[in-house]
């Protein structure tokens, strides 16, 4: 050991594979390196090895390696998984196709229901039934299993999904079938629904098992090649893999159930926002991540991200999509990013997105043949983005193309180009405001009680306008906002979320069964961690209960007080539920309360980065001033504004808007009157004028 510690995060995205490396010496002083290289489908691990080399990182010296990948979501959306066979309860093979029967696009008589991932001839049944209480009503009959597996083999099936009715309450039948398949067909990849989730709703659980089986061989192979590739370059440890629940997990655990990686991309950024909030004493955070094609947001209350299992892919106003019942950070995503295209409909109304110009041709200003105006073009046109420092100076802004594209929009609207550009920015902002309202106001939270943390390439460009619209008092743009997700990954704990459906009346006598469910689940979690070499004493737990008034369906999740659940505690828990419920829905009822299930969070620290503050200096911000220009702030008019070089801003510097901060990855737009100061970690704090 050299006394210094090297922590590395690599993130495989759609276009680029990113690297961030923190090297901390024995005094806690960190040096940071970043690198970017092309993503290399289908051998994504090659891109990871490339970026390590490009960044000059020797894998042999890495102490902690976190890794995020889109390999699972890509396999799903591009339909590049394997052929799956499904084994389910007698009488229910069609559940996967029947789904829930909804038609979101209800006036459209040509609606297409999403096709199931397993065709009917590969959906097979076995007799045997459990009750909702987990009692066996009819024994499992596996006499037909051999023939089913023969058919699967003959049809080229590579992975088998097993889902039986009520397996969330009693998984014995699923376990028996999985064990038998391992005997009869050891080469097959097999997953059963209870291994992924212990919650009810058979269509959602069946589909989850099927999609998990669908990506499993692909993801497993990828993770194995990654591990081998890193080992081949001398890395002696094992990478931790970013999960959709904002935690990391061991490569071994993820290889068993890779579907949990499905939404890991956004999760690391939101976790980063939660950790940053704790670091700077702002624990109520509205986190906003604006990229090229989408904007995503999530709400963090008291330092806690909200994790749910109500996750769907390909679901929108026109399609029912597909459910995946795994723990995923509660987020709202909209088709509004820097590359979103502005268009005018047949009736003269302006829209922005969800179509995106992508990386190619990209915004018109890229000069790569794009003819449609994007949000980025409008930001350039208004002087918000510096045309002479476009993409950190990497691209010469083609203002002529941008102008033509915006003029085309302006003509259709019957206004001038500047007005059209302002309109594009305002509509884009409004779309994002509505998304932020969905995660705050719609859930009963007042955005004025939250700090907006904005990151991604475009977050800081829009954050101040959004904050002003929502009444948010403070905006924070983290240091290194464009590689913030990778930073979040390095701050992640090993984390597992357990959701289990169990109906218990919240009445005297109910506490024992709640406590024993928590205790058993905690014991299982500790055992699992211990098997992977984690000291059980280091595992910490958060206990949530999911409650509702009797007869309701949807539940309200409540963080339970520390300590054992006893009958004496039930009144306190009921009060917490009433309180949370009333905040969200404006009223409470004098009705019996029942628990529908638990949500247990188990986490353990694994080599998390500790940030060291610098001393706040008294240097004047003018040292970072690089010029002045006219900037159009849309609703707040056009102003001669100070332009600061983000790389030269030092802790302790202060100034006031109108201003722009430019650094290679992002542009921060600061409206007139807003106060800016740089904190001890290099984060930019923007106080909204009151």
């Amino acid at each position: 050991m050299t006394g210094s510690t090297m922590r590395v995060a690599t993130d495989v995205g759609g276009t680029f594979t990113d690297l961030v490396c923190f090297e901390t010496d024995e005094n806690g002083n960190a040096t940071i390196r970043t690198a970017k290289s092309d993503t290399t489908p289908p051998n994504f691990e090659q891109g990871v090895l490339n970026v390590l080399e490009k960044g000059g990182v020797d894998p042999a010296g890495i102490d902690f390696l976190a890794h995020g990948t889109t390999v699972v979501i890509n396999a799903l959306t591009e339909r590049k998984g394997v052929k799956v066979g499904l084994i389910t309860t007698d009488g229910f093979r069609d559940i996967l196709e029947i789904a829930r029967g909804n038609r979101p696009d209800f006036f459209n008589l040509h609606y297409r229901k999403p096709a199931p991932f397993v065709q009917r001839y590969l959906r097979r049944e076995l007799p045997g039934r459990m009750s909702y209480k987990g009692e066996e009503l009819k024994p499992l009959d596996m006499s037909g299993l051999g023939a089913i597996l023969d058919d699967f083999r003959a049809e080229g099936v590579e992975a088998v999904a097993v889902c039986f009715l009520h397996s969330y309450a009693n998984p014995a039948h699923e376990q028996a079938v999985v064990a038998e398949i391992a005997k009869l067909w050891p080469e097959a990849s097999v997953v059963s629904s209870h291994q992924i989730t212990r919650e009810w709703r058979e269509y959602e659980r069946t589909n989850t098992a099927v999609l998990s089986a669908y990506v499993q061989p692909t993801a497993e192979r990828y993770l194995k090649r990654l591990q081998d590739g890193l080992a081949g370059r001398g890395f002696s440890g094992s990478p931790y893999i970013m999960q959709s629940n904002c935690g990391v997990d061991s490569l071994e655990a993820v290889s068993r159930i890779p579907i949990t990686m499905v939404e890991s991309g956004p999760a690391s950024g939101f976790w980063g926002a939660a950790e940053l909030g704790k670091l700077i004493g702002e624990t109520n955070v509205l986190a906003l991540d604006i990229g090229g094609t989408t904007a995503k947001c999530s709400l963090i209350e008291d330092g806690q991200v909200k994790i749910m299992t109500d996750y769907w892919i390909e679901r929108d106003r026109t399609s029912a999509g597909y459910p995946i019942m795994v723990p995923v950070v509660d987020l709202v995503e909209i088709g509004n990013g820097g590359g979103s295209i502005a268009w005018v409909d047949d009736f003269g109304k302006l829209h922005v997105g969800p179509q995106s110009a992508g990386a190619l041709p990209g915004p018109a200003a890229y000069g790569k043949g794009g003819t449609e105006a994007t949000t980025t073009d409008a930001n350039l046109w208004l002087g918000r983005i510096n045309k002479d420092y476009f993409c950190g100076g990497a691209i010469d802004a083609d203002m002529e193309s941008a102008g033509r594209a915006i003029e085309a929009v302006a003509d259709k609207l019957g206004v001038d180009a500047a007005e059209a550009a302002r309109g594009i920015v305002r509509i884009a902002n409004n779309n994002m405001v509505n998304a932020l309202k969905l995660v705050s106001l719609n859930r009963g939270f007042d955005p004025r009680d939250f700090t907006l943390v904005a990151f991604g390439g475009g977050g800081a460009m829009h954050a101040v306008a959004l904050a002003s619209e929502l009444g948010v008092k403070k905006v924070v743009v983290p240091a290194g906002a464009s590689v913030f997700s990778a930073w979040g990954m390095m701050m992640s704990d090993l984390r597992r979320d357990y959701f289990i459906t169990r109906l218990v009346d919240l009445e005297a006598g109910g506490a024992d069964s709640i406590e024993s469910l928590f205790a058993e689940t905690e014991e299982g979690a500790r055992r699992q961690f211990a098997d992977e070499g984690i000291d059980p004493a280091k595992v910490t737990f958060l206990r949530y209960g999911k409650f509702r008034y009797q007869n309701q369906e949807h539940t309200t999740e409540v963080l339970l007080p520390e300590g054992k659940v006893t009958d004496a505690e039930l009144a306190k828990i009921r009060d917490l539920f009433h309180e949370t419920y009333e905040r969200e829905y404006t009223y409470r009822l004098d009705a019996p309360v029942e628990m529908v299930g638990i949500h247990l969070v188990a986490s353990a620290e694994v080599g998390k980065l500790t940030m060291k503050p610098e001393t706040l200096g008294d240097a004047d911000a003018s040292a970072a001033l690089k010029g002045r220009r006219e900037v159009d702030f849309a609703l707040e008019g056009s102003h001669d504004s100070a332009i600061y070089d983000g790389l030269k801003l030092k802790p302790g510097m202060k100034f006031t808007g109108p201003a722009i901060i430019e650094d290679p990855g992002t542009t921060v737009v600061i409206n007139p009157g807003c106060g800016v100061d740089i904190d001890a970690y290099g984060n930019i704090h923007i106080d909204m004028k009151s």
Partner: protein, 554 residues
């Protein structure tokens, strides 16, 4: 007084916010309701009306509820027309089709006036199906009813909350009239919470942009809806189209549709007198059916508002099945509304084959099952519409197992939740393998679902149409298959029903729900042989029928 802005971007932003508000009201109601028909089936709708009760924005839910709320609010406005009748914090309710309720007594509309600058600037409202509102039968719906008085408690557009305070006697009367008083109370409060969420949001928007601009935005949004409708109307084939169709119960329904450059006229005057059975609908109900088909033909992809429907001209005859007079029973109004919807669709399909598919199972297939849950001793009531097959179109095969055209963003109840909540087992839920719907493109499949009853002294009520005459094929495609309930008692012979009321059920009796396959389109002999082979491999078709119907040897 503020002056309204004409800035199109500001108006657009307000309109987006109205949409977001209607959606937020929907989410609030869904999450707090106590009846599975509300929270799971989503038999509900939300909307925002202007001060005159015109629909400015509608939330998600089911298309058949979009056009209900404006009619209810207009009746409330007309009834409470004196100064002081309507004050800030008031909340109103109606469920009676003879008092603006449009549908049937189970559906309670809750509406709240929104005040700014000392006057009403808008209304928020919602509608939802309540599990039991009294009347002669559990669940309030009975095929035996001969007067509306037998179908539950009537709320003739009344105030339930005054200045923010519940009017306790009224709330008590509502509650005590239900067989499931706690559930009804919970659902009414969910509805109140939802209109209040909308109230808060709309007042914020009005305060931010100014009342005049807020009102201008609503007005321009509706004008925009009208503009879109009129542009699309001009693209439809012009002329007069007629259809007569025999119904399962022997009545014949007639429709005449005239499409002109400015008007879409639906003439339903030539139809039978109202029935003594609850198979009538209000005129407003038929209007909703006309609005649904009109919207699907003109602008299916964007949300509806009052302006969208302005070109519709509806002609009905008071006292007829489509314009019932008090006190005609209307419990199963939705099947009649669907029949009107379906005959309009069928009438036009022949003339617009690219826009309209072959017939679908076209029945709500409302199924009502109740009894005592043997594990808890509590009363349970299932009230559910069913999934069925949709018709083939020129674009391809029809969808299997989706809700009918009356419903939309509606979810079926998972068997696992059904078994826990209700005292029965779901023995199977499969696609319907009966013949029907063959064609160049095939109809989607209906379902077969078995409920096995776990305790004695339960009941079954159902009302299905298209049980005798199934979904209609086009261009040589075969008709679909019928909708029906098959009661399979533990002892005795199975019995098949389309309508049944209060049938007693006992332990281990099986209630089998069978819904129809959608109709086919085109000659089956023209079907792509690869698709036929794939159907056989998937067990949807036997090798014999493949040869017989499609001429394909497998």
């Amino acid at each position: 007084m503020s002056t309204p802005t004409n800035d199109p971007i500001t108006l657009e932003i307000i309109q987006n916010s109205l949409q977001a508000t209607a959606d937020e009201m929907f989410a609030a109601m869904r999450k707090t309701a106590m009846s599975s028909i509300i929270y799971e089936v989503l038999d509900m709708g939300t909307g925002i009306m202007d001060a005159k009760g015109m629909l400015a924005s509608s939330g998600a839910g089911i298309p058949a509820f979009i056009g209900v709320l404006d009619k209810a609010v207009q009746v409330i406005i007309a009834k409470f027309d004196k100064p002081g009748d309507i004050e800030p914090g008031d909340v109103f309710a109606t469920n009676d089709p003879y008092y603006g309720g449009v549908t049937h007594l189970n559906d309670i509309v809750v509406a709240m006036p929104i005040f700014a600058d000392g006057r009403i600037i808008a209304w928020t409202a919602n509608i939802a199906h309540n599990s039991d509102v009294g009347g002669m039968a559990p669940g309030s719906l009975s095929g035996e009813a001969t007067e509306i008085f037998q179908e539950g408690l009537r709320l003739p557009a009344i105030k339930i909350i005054a200045n923010g305070e519940p009017i306790k006697p009224v709330m008590d009367i509502i509650k005590v009239n239900s067989r499931m008083p706690d559930v009804l109370e919970g659902d009414v409060w969910a509805a109140i919470a939802s209109v209040r969420v909308g109230d808060k949001r709309l007042r914020e928007i009005a305060a931010k942009y100014g009342t005049a601009t807020f009102e201008r935005a609503m007005e321009s949004f509706m004008d925009f809806g009208e503009k879109v409708s009129r542009a699309a109307l001009a693209d439809l084939p012009q002329g007069t189209f007629e259809l007569s169709e025999e119904q399962d119960d022997g009545r014949t329904f007639n429709v005449k549709i005239t499409i002109g450059p400015d008007e879409f006229t639906v003439d339903l005057r030539d139809n039978p007198d109202q029935s003594a059975n609850p198979v009538n609908t209000s005129r407003d109900g038929v209007m909703v059916a006309a609005q649904m088909i009109f919207k699907s033909l003109t602008d299916p992809y964007s949300p509806a508002n009052g302006g969208s429907f302005r070109p519709i001209n509806l002609l009905t005859r008071e006292g007829s099945v489509f314009h019932a007079k008090e006190p005609a029973p209307i419990g199963f109004y939705y099947e009649i509304e669907l029949r009107v919807y379906d005959i309009m669709w069928r009438c036009l399909a022949a003339h617009m084959p690219d826009r309209l598919a072959a017939g679908h199972f076209a029945s709500v297939c409302g199924t009502f099952i109740g009894g005592i849950h043997p594990d808890t001793g509590r009363q349970y009531t299932i009230i559910e519409p069913q999934l069925g097959g949709w018709g083939a179109s020129r674009q391809g095969d029809g969808n299997s197992a989706v809700f009918c055209g009356f419903h939309g963003e509606t979810y079926n109840c998972p068997a696992e939740i059904n078994e826990a909540r209700n005292g029965l087992y779901v023995d199977q839920l499969r696609l319907n393998m009966e013949p029907g719907g063959e064609g160049k493109f095939t109809g989607g499949r209906g379902i077969v679902m078995d409920y096995r009853v776990r305790a004695d002294n339960g009941f079954l009520t159902a009302g299905y149409t298209r049980s005798k005459f199934p979904a209609w094929g086009v261009e040589g495609g075969h008709d679909g298959s019928p909708n029906y309930v098959e009661f399979r008692p533990k002892e005795g012979e199975p019995e098949r029903f389309a309508f049944v009321s209060g049938l007693a059920t006992h332990r281990d009796d099986v209630i089998r729900v069978v819904t129809g396959n959608g109709a086919g389109l085109g000659d089956p002999k023209e079907r792509d042989p690869d698709k036929v082979r794939s159907d056989v491999k998937n067990g949807l078709l036997s090798a014999e029928r493949a040869l017989e119907v499609y001429g394909v040897k497998v």
